[in-house]
């Protein structure tokens, strides 16, 4: 197997198939740790992980925190509400200060696309992208792929549908890069106004009819619809969206019986997904959350190794 040699994880676009597989395999071995009586290994003992979050997030931050702690790292959470960021400090200055505190890994969540890449370029310590703008959310896509592989035994050859606000979704982008590298066929589905131009060049097929899209699907990844988004751009009416695109029991009745239903959370019951489906047999939504810990343990561990190898 190949060796990991990167100090950062900023996105899946620039990773090779082998690197993605290495993360998934490493996560497999870390998954067992969370089932032990003492849920801890010393892999990152003495290391400091800083969660630098410029956007509100509970799920991703907690997942990274749990992952780091299960690797015995010390974790510090910095949010824009409590830091000097509010006083106008720049991203790079904030990063440099965290580096000067001798932290080892920064997990950054930022509303500006590319923020993690810019930070990684300026810092010698590890940077993990916890979601940047509409650009990438690599650990989310990795945990989605991990869950798929666990459920269906493979990624290669699967038909995966991503439905929802593709235009503004970093989860969709990272999934497209990752899944296509591993040989899955990805179809994105949404109202026209939410399909960004050039998405086909990323390797995804576009389908505007969800029932058609789901016909051959092995899995569907349902994105959160943020109707509260205030972008001034065109947005579908929420009940019309529910009628045409939501994943419901009736819709699933016409698909493969064992179709896997995923959602990055937090879910909007009755908007993009019905409660019956979210809580039903096809749903792996909570397993995704559990798997997120293993993936983040793997990524924290690998980037730390990658930096040492430099």
């Amino acid at each position: 197997m190949i060796k990991w040699n990167k100090k950062d994880l900023t996105g899946l676009r620039d990773l090779s198939k082998e690197e993605i597989e290495l993360i998934l395999n490493t996560a497999s071995s870390f998954k067992e740790v969370s089932t032990r009586g003492v849920k801890k290994v010393p892999a990152l003992r003495g290391k400091t992980v800083v969660n630098l979050f410029y956007e509100p997030s509970t799920r991703t931050r907690v997942s990274f925190e749990v992952a780091a702690k299960r690797l015995s790292a010390d974790v510090i959470n910095v949010s824009t509400e409590t830091s000097s960021v509010k006083k106008g400090e720049t991203l790079i200055d904030t990063g440099s200060n965290i580096q000067a505190l001798r932290a080892d890994i920064i997990v950054v969540r930022h509303n500006s696309s590319g923020a993690a890449i810019i930070l990684a370029r300026h810092l010698g310590i590890c940077v993990i992208n916890g979601g940047d703008g509409w650009h990438e959310h690599p650990t989310q896509a990795l945990l989605d792929m991990f869950t798929l592989k666990e459920k269906l035994g493979r990624i290669k050859g699967l038909n995966v549908v991503i439905v929802g606000d593709i235009a503004h979704s970093r989860v969709a982008r990272s999934n497209i890069w990752g899944l296509t590298k591993l040989g899955a066929r990805v179809t994105v589905c949404a109202p026209k106004m939410l399909i960004p131009p050039g998405i086909e060049e990323m390797g995804a097929r576009v389908e505007y009819d969800i029932d058609k899209a789901l016909k051959e699907a092995d899995a569907v990844n349902v994105l959160r619809m943020q109707f509260e988004r205030d972008e001034g751009a065109a947005f579908p009416e929420r009940f019309e969206y529910f009628r045409k695109f939501a994943i419901t029991k009736e819709r699933l009745a016409k698909t493969k019986k064992d179709i896997v239903v995923m959602h990055p959370g937090p879910i909007n019951r009755g908007i993009e997904i019905s409660s019956e489906v979210a809580d039903g047999d096809n749903s792996v939504i909570l397993e995704q959350v559990t798997n997120g810990i293993a993936i983040r343990m793997a990524v924290l561990f690998l980037v730390s190794q990658g930096r040492q190898s430099k």
Binding site: S112, I118, G133, E201
Partner: protein, 424 residues
Amino acid sequence: MSLLIKGGRVIDPANKIDGICDILIEGSKISAVAKDIKQKAKQVIEAKGKIVMPGLVDMHVHLREPGREDKETIKSGTEAALKGGVTTLLAMPNTSPPIDSIENIRLLKKAIKKDAKADVLIAATITKAHAGKELTDMAKLKKEGAVAVTDDGSSIDDEKKLLNALKKAKDSRLTVSCHCEDKALSAGGHVNLGFTSTSMGLRGISRESEYKRIERDIALAHKAKAPIHIAHVSCKESVDVIKIAKRKNVKVTAETAPHYFSLSEESVWGFDTNMKMNPPLRGKTDMKAIKQGLKDGTIDVIASDHAPHTENEKDIEFSRSEFGIIGLETILYVSIQELVLTGLLDWKEFIQKLSLNPAKILGVEKGSLGKGSAADMIIYDPGAEWSFGKQEILSKSGNSPFIGRSFKGKILYTIFAGKVAYRA
């Protein structure tokens, strides 16, 4: 003071010369161009094996003074210009205060007189504070020394206003340079719309926002029976629109910048903010169309769109970073590399786009090496190999996408007004 340049290959499109000649300079003018000039001169430069060409006329430069002297000053900007072979430049008026009144133009003239190391031509705004509302007093601005008007950075949305401006500028014999961008289509965008904007998770700037506005502005110029100059053409459709207008004999001229034929949108995929400018880097087919447009004469001029910004405004999150890059020190080298060394343009065709054509468009007597012309020229060593390093930048700002690029050929001397103004 006399200066004799001996034995260089003189390339002067204005006088259709390409051959080994001597040039004698007396005072600030060229007094003779001939083979084997015997006359003694106070200073002699041996130019055997070198190319002697007219000093460049860069008709799109942001000097930032007055107002943003932290980015660039008239002094630093003109020093950078001379290093890059630019002896005449048109200073864009979107300064603070903007060049939209007699008082402000006088302020600028005073600063130029005090600090400029090269010839700085003045552009005034078309509308007050380039806000697109109230027209400036063009006749008076012309009288005070403006040679052109432009609202560069924005486009005038109100068609009647632009029509009126084109007519008034024509009456005052002012060149009108238009930044063509329909902000209703481009607002909030950072990179080329399509795969680039989508894969980067950024809003895009469409080609439509540029070429549709060019189409409109050309139609207005046609209606006003007035000439128009189109700034920084970046995409294929724009080249097509201009080509059609030229065929219909509309008095339109156009410029592009070196980055639009040397870099594609792929360069921005790594979120390098030195690849961020407006209009944005486009696709490979656009680069090809721009080159073809230069070859077939659709595009008349290469200008740098030199846009200095401090690191504080540039080296930050991509979406917050300012648009624009510096270009005075690389305009010649990038252009030679992409256009001459590739065999697309011959030297004469090429030099014309960087000197004679912009001079003609601006109505100034530059870009010629004829007897009696201003003694502004470059002595260029076509063999020298070097690479462009950040530490050698003379501009106050370092936002160049070409740092680290290797070039063949280097300026040995820039002569301005008869004197050696830069020496490598």
